[in-house]
């Protein structure tokens, strides 16, 4: 039973990581890519780590996997948030179909939207 659950978590994680990386390669602009990659990869790697913990139980391997899952769950969203904020301030262009950019408006500037080709 536990082993089936472990395999389920592991393959769910692998699938999420693969789809997130595919989104990172295929989406049209930086912010879309960042959203696909960050969310999917965080959830996927946490799933892989929980699968490893369930597979090996309470020994050094499993507990270290849990610690790694907690660390990734805390740090990846923080770093991607900082990068998104930094690239908005640095003026990376938004996709041409973008509807809203409240952050740039609050800073008193005009949103930089990519032109239609």
């Amino acid at each position: 039973m536990i082993s089936v659950l472990a395999l389920l978590f592991l393959w769910m994680g692998v699938g999420f990581v693969l789809l997130g990386a595919l989104g990172l390669a295929r989406f049209p602009d930086l912010y879309n890519r960042m959203q696909a990659a960050t969310k999917c990869v965080t959830l996927g790697v946490c799933g892989i780590m929980i699968g490893i913990f369930l597979r090996s139980g309470f020994n050094p391997l499993g507990v270290k996997a849990l610690i790694c899952a907690a660390f990734i769950l805390l740090t990846v969203p923080v770093s991607s948030h900082a990068l998104a904020r930094g690239s908005l301030i640095a003026g990376v262009k938004l996709w041409k179909g973008t509807v809203k950019d409240e952050f740039t408006k609050d800073r008193g500037a005009e949103p930089i939207i990519e032109e239609e080709k």
Partner: protein, 83 residues
């Protein structure tokens, strides 16, 4: 062993984005994600060969990609590192 082989294309997608990405932030997020994917691959290797010290390497990879991404974000905001 099969999950590791399935994760290799994910790392290759990240590498593609890091090579062609139009802006610096694209490359930064791609390298960040590649570090996290490599940390997952290392953890799976640790499970496969029952070597618990490989998970220390996995945690170290996650820490390095986090610190690198934060430093690059500060650089993009045109602030100095001790600010």
């Amino acid at each position: 062993m099969v999950p590791i082989i399935v994760l290799v294309p994910a790392a290759l997608f990240c590498l593609y984005r890091a090579l062609v990405g139009p802006s610096i932030a694209d490359r930064a997020i791609a390298v960040d994600m590649m570090g996290v994917v490599f940390s997952a691959i290392t953890a799976l290797l640790a499970l496969r060969f029952r070597l618990s010290y490989l998970l220390d390497l996995s945690i170290a990879l996650a820490v390095i990609s986090f610190v690198g991404a934060l430093a690059l974000a500060k650089f993009l905001e045109k602030r100095s590192l001790d600010d």
